[in-house]
């Protein structure tokens, strides 16, 4: 079989039907997406920045400058910390779950139940999820009471579900399943043959993972981490329902200015905070792309 070498750009475009307008034809495929996104995503994003660059009532500097100072900067950094932490933990645990599920492939129902529940759990949040944890580990929680019956007093140990650690735990409830769903197809793609080949050459499981498994998975790992980071970064309902500390998150604070009952006239500040969130995501994306480019070299 002779697969002639062709340059990346032309090979497939040439074989596209109605091949005369080859480059135009390939763009047409992307057109619905671009049009849709332009109207329903880019236009609102542009409006956010347009409002963000105007000053808040009673001030002369653009809202975006005000939104990056003092307590607002603290809020942004706090959100970044929480998101990175829950994304990291979620990514690790979620991948472990995916790997475990794939290695236990023989249990037919397991995979289906896992996928089914993960899809639902990844979208849980807000008051129900927060309350489920309050009902479990809050001051009047079911398990708090059970533990106190056997002598373990959570509040004496300094644990409150409304602390930072509580927020992290609750966030993991939707981070882990999301990562699981992202990683399952990728782990599936790790062909068993490679694993067996490695074993037959005498590699230990750890060596397999280190030189083959993880490098092959790394684009999906990074992509999943980014997704989890964005997921946590934008979440507000769960933290607000769970803890007063949720008010330290920038996503919650945006609501004070855009969807509240008390503060009026500061909507530009709300849009400015949203604009900074977008900037943070752009930075995160660039970091991710850089790392992914490097990891892709390992794959070859």
């Amino acid at each position: 079989m002779n697969l002639t070498v062709r340059s990346e750009r032309d090979s497939l475009a040439e074989r596209v039907p109605f091949g005369v307008f080859k480059h135009m034809r390939s763009w047409v495929v992307l057109a619905p997406f671009m049009l849709f996104v332009a109207v329903f995503l880019l236009w609102p994003t542009f409006s956010v920045f347009r409002s963000a660059l105007q000053p808040v009532e009673g001030s002369s500097k653009p809202a975006m400058l005000e939104a990056i100072s003092g307590q607002y900067l603290d809020a942004i950094l706090y959100s970044v910390r929480l998101s990175a932490l829950t994304a990291g933990l979620g990514a690790v645990i979620g991948t472990l779950v995916a790997v475990s599920a794939v290695s236990l492939n023989q249990f037919k129902g397991l995979r289906n139940v896992l996928v089914g529940y993960s899809a639902v759990a990844a979208n849980l949040g807000g008051i129900p999820l927060a309350f489920a944890f309050v009902a479990s580990l809050g001051m009047q929680g079911l398990y708090t009471k059970l533990l106190s019956v056997i002598g373990i007093n959570l509040s004496d140990l300094g644990f409150k579900i409304s602390d930072f650690s509580g927020i992290v735990i609750v966030y993991l409830y939707f981070q882990i399943p999301l990562m699981t769903l992202v990683m399952l197809p990728a782990v599936d793609g790790l062909k068993v043959t490679l694993k067996e080949a490695a074993a037959s050459v005498g590699a230990t499981p750890r060596q397999y993972w280190r030189s083959i498994g993880i490098p092959l998975l790394s684009p999906s790992l990074l992509g999943g981490f980014l997704l989890l980071f964005a997921n946590a970064f934008s979440a507000y309902a769960t933290a607000y329902a769970l803890s007063a500390g949720g008010s330290n998150l920038v996503s919650v604070q945006i609501r004070f200015y855009l969807q509240g009952n008390t503060i009026t006239g500061k909507s530009n500040l709300g849009y400015a905070l949203a604009a900074w969130m977008i900037v943070v995501m752009v930075l995160a994306m660039s970091g991710y792309l850089g790392l992914r480019r490097r990891s892709e070299r390992w794959r070859k």
Partner: protein, 382 residues
């Protein structure tokens, strides 16, 4: 919501209506205005042409009226009982005042644009600035105190309430009666605000009330912020958010909320075997109202006007009383003997509300500035 209510709820609401119905006599049942036998009620109120026009419109789009807030469930029902041909659907009951404004602006010109809104005073001002109020002075306007209405008739405050401490006595046995008492170490981790004051009207009012209790005033909210900062440092301030579920479960046994937010939960609390008391703090008495009005250029103008009339009418007022809110025409109703002591069980002591004053729009605006700048660093910051 289901039509099959639990027995206890049914009984409570039936009782409320029976009493209201008995007292209202002739005025309550027909949809045409009739000669009333009760001299205190102005006949031809609401005007027959408005009732007819509203019936022709057959619908009033309402928003942000939760069932358990000031007994809106009962008030919506009494409107339906009186004007059977007019639907009054409530969209997005948990909408914030800002959400109401967004809905009015986003859905302008469409059939589901809200016809009447119920917003905090700050947003009543916003609506005014944006020219979204349709001025309307229902009959009985003169019986409403000047502090509870807009001079140009743009909005009316059909009800107000006081900031009160709600105590879950199943969890907390010693009932606090003042802000000062809440700082006691025995209430560690138990005192909860209904949300963040930068977003929630009830939480904002709690901070104002605390300010008054600690040497501040309508012009000076800082002592209130300081109070909560200290409460957080001592560990008394709970980190948990107040929701109906958290009140029932006992996670937030000491709640700071409006007097009219408690009666709605009473049936469910009773069902769960939870006993509850409501105490207006003796050192910080603070009242707050919400403003209702007709939205300009909304699809059902007359039905909307009829709704506003209904809110300040006797039926509406009695509905609010049942819900723990003091209606705008409270003094007129008491004077004409329509309110029995039995009906006032959910209301705070009238002595407390006798000389109630509310902060002006400017005072509220200034307090919010201070709050927005200071609450984060002083109280919630890490």
């Amino acid at each position: 919501m289901s039509k099959h209510m639990k027995v206890t709820k049914k009984v409570q609401i039936a009782l409320g209506f029976t009493v209201a119905g008995l007292l209202l006599g002739a005025c309550g049942s027909s949809s045409e205005s009739t000669e009333s036998t009760d001299a205190a009620i102005v006949s031809d109120c609401p005007a027959a042409d408005i009732v007819d026009a509203a019936t022709a419109e057959a619908k009033v789009n309402l928003i942000a009226l939760p069932d358990t807030w000031a007994n809106y469930k009962g008030i919506l029902q009494s409107f339906r009982d009186k004007y059977a041909a007019i639907e009054n659907p409530v969209a997005n009951p948990d909408a914030s005042s800002a959400d109401e404004l967004t809905a009015v602006e986003t859905l302008a010109g469409q059939p589901d644009m809200p016809d009447a809104v119920d917003v905090s005073p700050a947003f009543a001002q916003e609506f005014d600035t944006k020219g979204l109020w349709e001025p309307y002075q229902p009959c009985l306007w003169d019986e409403i105190p000047t502090t509870l209405k807009d001079p140009d008739g743009k909005w009316v405050a059909a009800y107000y309430g006081l900031m009160a401490i709600g105590v879950n006595t199943t969890v907390v046995t010693e009932v606090p009666t003042s802000f000062a008492e809440l700082t006691d170490a025995k209430y560690k981790g138990l005192v909860a605000l209904n949300g963040d004051p930068r977003e929630s009207g009830a939480a904002f009012a709690a901070v104002m009330a605390a300010a008054i209790a600690n040497g501040g005033s309508f012009d000076d909210i800082l002592p209130g912020i300081q109070y909560f900062a200290d409460l957080k440092k001592s560990g008394n301030l709970s980190g948990s958010d107040v929701t109906p579920a958290s009140v029932i479960s006992g996670e937030t046994p000491l709640v700071l909320d409006w007097t009219y937010n408690y009666p709605g939960l009473a049936p469910t609390l009773a069902e769960n075997g939870v006993t509850f008391e409501v105490k207006v703090p003796t050192d910080g008495i603070y009242g707050g109202f919400y403003a209702q009005g007709v939205v300009k250029n909304s699809p059902h103008q007359n039905a909307s006007k009829l709704w506003i009339s209904h809110l300040i009418s006797d039926e509406g007022a009695l509905g609010y009383i049942e819900g723990g809110a003091i209606p705008a025409r409270f003094d007129a109703l008491v004077a004409s003997g329509k309110v029995t002591p039995e009906m006032m069980k959910n209301l705070p002591d009238p002595a407390l509300t006798a000389n109630i004053t509310f902060p002006s729009a400017d005072q509220v605006a200034k307090a919010k500035e201070v709050l927005a700048a200071q609450w984060g660093p002083m109280v919630s910051g890490n």
